[in-house]
């Protein structure tokens, strides 16, 4: 089971981190992040050790201020740690320059945001093309792959629609297509259902479930337990530390099917 690897992370710490990083896509050791807020130093993360294996489906939970957004930003390479190490796909992220981080975000990570963050004036197709623009893919191929990704989220008939012509669920599916279009190693979702009604949320969660079933590694921040229950493993943060790291009942897709 993938979950056991996560739980044994403290045991893995005895091995050299380089060795570990060769086997596990995401490895962090003693990850700390401090922010200067005026004269005060906010210690958002106080030494987090996490390992996440390929094709894991992880939910990150915790009250606001627990450090979960900071952890997501670090894992998403939007930020670098104050101290500690973060290895992504065998690369030491803390040593990278800003442009290298941008390239990793482009190739390895697909972001899904709570507020969708689509370009309002661009069509669904153009929105999905964006990561490919920065990957240096030429126009023809960009269009083809973006169309493919939109079909994957069942929006093949809405490609020319602007975001304001789409429902919330459809917008989030466009955002998911955009996150997937560059075939990232990790899909990072930050409260992906936070702005959706429960019916639409269920629809989006089934998209995530399907993606996981087809082999996609997913990390998702949420504060809703029913949403987190879709994941196979829940990491709970509190005050910048990991409070718990457990497998869920719904980890087994078969069990979930029986459930519903």
């Amino acid at each position: 089971m993938t979950t056991t690897a996560g739980q044994k992370s403290s045991a893995g710490a005895t091995a050299s981190i380089e060795e570990r990083a060769r086997e596990v896509p995401i490895v962090t050791r003693g990850l700390r992040k401090d922010y200067e807020m005026g004269a005060e130093t906010v210690r958002a993360l106080r030494g987090v050790d996490v390992e996440i294996e390929e094709n894991e489906y992880v939910a990150v939970m915790g009250p606001s201020g627990s450090g979960k957004s900071t952890l997501m930003n670090l894992i998403g390479c939007l930020d670098t740690p104050t101290s500690g190490e973060y290895w992504l796909d065998g690369q030491a992220v803390q040593d990278l320059e800003e442009d290298e981080l941008a390239e990793i975000r482009n190739r390895e990570i697909g972001f899904v945001f709570q507020t969708f963050n689509l370009l309002p004036r661009a069509s669904a197709l153009h929105n999905v093309e964006l990561p490919l623009v920065y990957a240096g893919v030429d126009r023809e191929e960009r269009r083809e792959r973006a169309a493919e990704a939109l079909e994957q989220v069942e929006l093949g008939d809405r490609m020319d629609h602007a975001p304001n012509q789409l429902s919330g669920g459809q917008r989030q599916r466009v955002a998911i297509a955009r996150a997937l279009v560059n075939r990232p190693a990790i899909l990072l979702a930050d409260e992906p259902t936070g702005n959706l009604d429960s019916k639409t949320a269920a629809e989006i969660m089934s998209v995530f479930d399907d993606l996981h079933a087809s082999g996609q590694t997913i990390i998702m921040v949420t504060h809703e337990h029913p949403i987190a229950a879709h994941a196979a493993r829940i990491i709970t943060l509190r005050d910048g530390n990991i409070e718990s790291d457990d497998a869920t009942v719904a980890a087994d897709p078969v069990a979930e099917m029986v459930d519903s």
Binding site: N73, G76, L78, E103, N106, F111, N117, Y134, G136, R139
Partner: protein
């Protein structure tokens, strides 16, 4: 760099951004439009004036040497010997073989009357070949001839503006008597108009009389103001200059090492001087116009800063999706560049139109040269890059996390 796909995307995003704020973009562009139009118009006026002077001087003939006493326009020093006389003209006529035609001028202002009308005019005593040497034409009637000069006859040929100044139709004057310094002269003809833009060379308000008549009946001196000498061909200019100098130095008994008491000028030199002057003038005008372009550029910078802060979230998103600093920088630079180039294109159109209007309604000679247009395009691009750089840099340095959180 990214491939062509990236260039296409960047231009598309820039056009989208400009289109989505049409009014604002147009107002911003207006600064550049006016700046470029001003530069184009001013340069067109300057170059037009330059061209006019050039044509005027060329029409006077460049194979003409002018000899004046003294050592320059404003330096007449040299005492008694620094005079040119009719005798000098004779010496040059005999001594300088490369000189083809020679035409002296002595002038003085006199009261001129016709009936009750009168006015003060510059009366020029010259030879019968004045029209040939100076490349001029008679409009009505004829110029005086050599016999009339030899016979010190009282004939006069009027500059084209003289009849009007006296309030008489030109045709009516020909054959009639006018009085110059209370001496009666017969009007033989009226010269063709030389044009107002001829500047210091305009002789439209002068009255021409035979030089011997002037010498003996009007001015009582054989001292002349200057003489013009034509040469057979442009290639014998230097030869003619040398011969004139030699002849005059001997006539004036100048010892070796003593400086000339006269001054030989050729039209090509004058042309060069005027060209330089009008060019300086053009630069000055263009410089003043460029200030308005600068103001337009500040407008661009202002609006780009607004655009950057409005699109902070978009910048954050693009960074999250893999845009590097340089990609964001290029994107905003291109937006500023597109604004400036579009404004520049409109400005060139407007400037060309204004230049045409000046030519049409004010009768000024204007010239919109390809160089000026190229310069305007280059200038607007430079303005775009210069004033777009700072806002674009600000955008590129935004922190992706904070940018994504920006409301």
């Amino acid at each position: 760099m990214r491939g062509r796909g990236f260039v296409f995307e960047v231009v598309r995003v820039a056009l989208d951004a400009i289109r989505s704020n049409k009014l604002r973009s147009v107002l911003t562009m207006l600064g550049i439009v006016i700046g470029i139009a001003a530069v184009i118009t001013m340069v067109a006026l300057g170059q037009g004036a330059q061209q006019a002077v050039q044509q005027q001087i060329a029409s006077l003939g460049t194979d003409v040497l002018t000899v004046r006493p003294g050592s320059g326009w404003f330096r007449r020093g040299g005492g008694d010997r620094a005079r040119l006389t009719m005798e000098d003209v004779e010496i040059v006529r005999r001594g300088a073989t490369a000189v083809e035609g020679i035409s002296p001028e002595m002038d003085q202002s006199f009261q001129v009357e016709y009936g009750r009308a009168n006015g003060n005019f510059r009366v020029v005593g010259t030879s019968a070949n004045y029209t040939d040497v100076n490349n001029r034409e008679v409009d009505i009637g004829r110029f005086f001839d050599m016999q009339e000069n030899q016979g010190r006859r009282r004939v006069a040929v009027l500059g084209s503006a003289v009849p009007e100044a006296l309030g008489v139709a030109p045709l009516e004057l020909v054959g009639r008597e006018i009085s110059i310094r209370n001496i009666s002269f017969t009007v033989a003809g009226v010269m063709e108009e030389q044009g107002s833009s001829a500047g210091p060379f305009s002789s439209d308000e002068q009255i021409f009389v035979p030089v011997r008549t002037a010498q003996y009946r009007l001015m009582g001196t054989d001292e002349i103001e200057s003489f013009n000498a034509t040469v057979a061909s442009a290639s014998s200019m230097d030869m003619a200059t040398m011969q004139i100098e030699e002849a005059l130095r001997r006539a004036h008994r100048l010892r070796p090492g003593e400086s000339n008491t006269f001054w030989i000028q050729n039209r090509a030199d004058i042309l060069g001087t005027f060209q330089q002057t009008s060019q300086t003038f053009t630069y000055l005008l263009a410089g003043i116009a460029a200030v308005s372009l600068l103001v337009g550029g500040i407008g661009i910078m202002n609006i780009m800063l607004v655009s950057v802060s409005e699109r902070t979230r978009e910048i954050g998103l693009r960074k999250a999706l893999g845009a590097r600093r340089r990609d964001i920088l290029v994107q905003f630079l291109v937006e500023a560049l597109v604004l400036c180039l579009a404004g520049g294109a409109l400005g060139i159109g407007l400037g060309a139109g204004a230049s045409r209007a000046f030519a049409e309604f004010a009768g000024w000679n204007t010239l919109v040269s390809p160089e000026a247009v190229t310069l305007a395009v280059a200038f607007s691009a430079a303005v775009g890059i210069f004033f777009g750089l700072w806002p674009a840099r600000r955008a590129s340095l935004l922190d992706p996390i904070e940018a994504l959180r920006y409301e």
